[in-house]
């Protein structure tokens, strides 16, 4: 127990990330199920308007910040150091800090469901309710007097710190801890996409930090950053939010694209087609992702010139994305494709992401988007890219790397059930939403009139959502079953080309008994140019020093939610406690002897 709390081992932290994020995914999913149950019929009254608003806000926020990002992070943690032949990440304790901040931030946000009575309100009353992009000025104290928005903005502020810390850590890890011979153009595609993602993180998060800080000042100290009566404009929030928000969606998709780029070659037994192009297009997507944010604001009235410019830049992103897709198909082409569950999910990713991408292109055309924005058509788009894309990709990664992470193979039979249920379920749940939106149903409404003529489609969608839930249950059964009865994995159940497969599953604490020297991009494969490398010996030739654990990252992390309690409860002294804890953690951490 203690060893898990103080761990600085990237593999353990990876597992902690996985199970925590998966729990949040279930919570976000349950929120979605309640949403779907409410909307199964017109004039539904399962939940009140106020509860519904909290549900979709927390659903979006949870899925984005507490489920998908940290699920990706669990692979960054577990896999990246293994893929580059490192003993750990560059800053193991900072890594632990990131995890604890994430956990505490997530708990802080979700605590809002239950702590209503402390704020003289009921349970299920004070959770955030301004939508996941929390548009000002609805979020100002004047229009949202309760603590709901406070929970949201403080929680996001905490989570941002976690992501930023991880961002610096992984950039340095990938740039600086590669095994000898592993030049940048030999780095596996997943690690490459991780690197691009982290650059997006460290540049995008400061912007939302500032946006949230303004909101915080407005709510707690009476400033007027988003108050039009004072001469300001609430549109500033939208710019700052989407300056962050659009890079954020690529933060969510790029890791999944990286996973797919690993899974396809392994199961087609063919190198990734156009590796260099795939890597560069990933970089390009990340880069271009910075120039398109106003496509979320076509209805704001930015003027025809701005609309045209942002429309064009947005459409351009289809080019590098398409390039990736074509290269993936070309990877399969001429291969010897083994239909494992991981491959199913990777192919599912491609098939579904195309739909989401193409609806994205219809959004990118402002006059068309004016009929689509803020309707279920957008909800369809986001779930095709986020669920059809990211979640599918992450499941591909889970089935692919689970044996590495636990030493046991997930059941393929259950895996196929999981995949097909999820595939059918998601299309049933999200495809009708295109039509629902075009037929005039706005998003974020807790009820709709039967006159709209979308009741049947909504029912269909709800049925699909419950099918997805069923598929997730199958997955849960699969991991529980695998714990005891799963087939042993050995070092390399799939015949992978990259370094993580050269060591035992799960790997020893020190990862590599001898740090491998890398001579090419596919070290463990035989190609026309080279023979496979020799895997490191099972036991290290000399004892390897492994750093012990540390309590201080957790202590420092604890300072943050305490600090956040101060504004939430309007109590100054708590702020001093928070700062004291934070500083204590940092000082103890900085002066603790810790050698790697």
């Amino acid at each position: 127990m203690k060893s898990w709390l103080t761990t600085t081992d990237h593999k353990r932290i990876g597992l902690l990330y996985f199970f925590t994020a998966f729990a949040f995914f279930l919570i976000g999913g349950i929120e979605a199920l309640v949403i779907r149950a409410q909307l199964a019929q017109p004039n539904g009254h399962l939940v009140t308007a106020e509860t519904y608003n909290q549900l979709f806000t927390m659903h979006g926020t949870t899925m984005v910040f507490l489920a998908l990002m940290p699920l990706s992070a669990s692979f960054f943690n577990y896999i990246v150091p293994l893929q580059i032949g490192a003993r750990d990440v560059a800053f193991p304790r900072l890594n632990a800090f990131s995890y604890w901040v994430f956990l505490l931030g997530g708990l802080f946000l979700n605590a809002s469901w239950f702590v209503g009575p402390l704020f003289h309100a009921g349970v299920l009353n004070v959770a955030p309710d301004g939508g996941w992009f929390g548009y000002a000025n609805l979020t100002e104290r004047q229009f949202s007097p309760g603590p709901n928005i406070d929970f949201w903005l403080l929680g996001l502020q905490i989570l941002g710190i976690s992501s930023l810390a991880a961002g610096f850590n992984f950039i340095v890890t990938i740039l600086n801890l590669r095994a000898p011979g592993m030049r940048m153009m030999r780095v596996p595609a997943f690690t490459w996409m991780t690197l691009v993602t982290q650059f997006l993180v460290i540049t995008a998060f400061p912007v939302i930090t500032v946006a949230l800080a303004f909101l915080m000042f407005d709510r707690f100290f009476g400033t007027h950053f988003y108050v039009s009566q004072a001469g300001a404009t609430p549109i500033l929030w939208q710019h700052l939010f989407w300056l962050f928000g659009h890079p954020e969606v690529y933060i969510l998709i790029l890791p999944a694209m990286g996973i797919v780029s690993e899974v396809l070659p392994t199961f087609a037994r063919k190198p990734l087609f156009g590796y260099t192009v795939v890597v560069y297009s990933g970089i390009l997507i990340g880069f271009m992702g910075w120039g398109v944010w106003s496509h979320h604001m076509f209805s704001v009235g930015l003027g025809p010139i701005a609309d045209s410019v942002f429309s064009a830049t947005t459409m351009l992103i289809a080019v590098p994305t398409g390039v990736k897709i074509f290269n993936w198909i070309a990877t399969l082409w001429g291969g010897d494709i083994r239909g494992t569950t991981a491959l199913h999910f990777a192919v599912g990713f491609i098939a579904m992401f195309i739909i989401g991408g193409l609806s994205g292109v219809t959004h990118a055309s402002p006059p068309a988007d004016l009929q689509q924005t803020d309707t279920y058509y957008v909800v369809a788009h986001i779930h095709y890219v986020l669920f059809g894309g990211t979640i599918m990709g992450l499941f591909a990664g889970i089935y692919y790397w689970w044996p590495k992470m636990t030493g046991r193979l997930l059941s393929e039979a259950l895996g196929k059930w999981h995949f097909w249920l999820q595939f059918v379920g998601m299309n049933l749940a999200f495809f009708p939403m295109h039509l629902i939106g075009l037929l005039g149903m706005p998003r974020r409404i807790y009820t709709y009139s039967p006159e709209l003529g979308v009741s049947d489609l909504n029912l269909l969608s709800t049925i699909g959502a419950f099918l997805i839930a069923l598929s997730i249950l199958v997955f849960v059964v699969n991991i529980v079953r695998t714990r005891r009865r799963g087939q042993r994995a050995g070092n390399d159940p799939w015949g992978g080309a990259t370094l993580e497969w050269s060591i035992s599953s799960p790997p020893p604490v020190y990862n590599f008994s001898v740090i491998p020297t890398v001579a090419n991009r596919l070290p463990r494969w035989k190609t026309e140019h080279h023979e496979p490398m020799r895997d490191p010996p099972g036991t290290p030739p000399a004892p390897i020093h492994v750093p012990g654990g540390s309590w201080w990252p957790m202590l420092a992390a604890l300072g943050l939610p305490i600090l956040a309690l101060a504004p939430l409860t309007h109590t100054l002294w708590i702020a001093f406690v928070g700062v004291a804890v934070l500083l204590a953690g940092i000082y103890l951490w900085a002066f603790e002897p810790f050698d790697v």
Binding site: F91, G167, F168, I171, V172, T203, P206, F217, H224, V596
Partner: protein, 192 residues
């Protein structure tokens, strides 16, 4: 935290690299703040307005002070790298002291503004000005704490030329805070 200090793929110090990435990230933080200041410039519906209140001579002195602290900082680093801990200590202390002087100046400035009727809540100028310069001030505060920590460690004899990298990184932070001020001084104070 000397992680893999000896063997890195780029032959660069990991902490220093992380710090440069951090500074890159901070660029976007300050850009967001400065952009907001600029966007809202001249949009306050009530006074006081910048030209009525900003004290250029006073702030010029603060700017000079911060520039000099940067000089002290590089001198401190050079001394530590030479192994000259005597001067290392002196320069470190001077850097921190000048940082404190800057903060003192900011306290005086803020108090004066409040007396003249400009608070956080008064108008958009107040909001954007105090939050921007306040964020910078918070960075200076962290820097001063950090410098003083190093100075105390040096007094205890625990900071030696072996820790030159620590001092160098502190310096990176300190100079960055200085260049941010260079921009703020121009954009907020001189371009009214």
């Amino acid at each position: 935290m000397t992680t893999h200090g000896t063997h890195t793929s780029l032959g660069l110090d990991s902490r220093k690299m992380a710090f440069w990435a951090f500074i890159g990230s901070e660029c976007l933080l300050f850009t967001s703040l400065i952009s907001t200041y600029l966007v809202y410039k001249g949009r306050s519906v009530v006074g006081p307005y910048p030209h009525e209140i900003l004290n250029i001579p006073f702030t010029s002195v603060s700017t000079f002070d911060l520039l000099m602290s940067s000089l002290m900082m590089v001198l401190a680093l050079a001394a530590v790298q030479r192994g000259d801990m005597k001067w290392g200590k002196i320069w470190l202390f001077c850097t921190a002291l000048l940082g404190l002087v800057f903060l003192g100046g900011q306290v005086i400035e803020f108090t004066e503004f409040v007396h003249k009727g400009l608070t956080l809540q008064t108008n958009l100028f107040g909001c954007t000005f105090f939050v921007l310069t306040g964020t910078h001030g918070a960075h200076v505060t962290v820097g001063v704490l950090w410098l003083l920590t190093l100075w105390v460690r040096a007094l205890q004899g625990k900071l030696t030329s072996a820790n030159a990298m620590t001092v160098e990184i502190t310096g990176l932070y300190w100079h960055f805070v200085d260049v941010v001020w260079i921009v703020i001084f121009t954009v907020v104070y001189l371009i009214q």
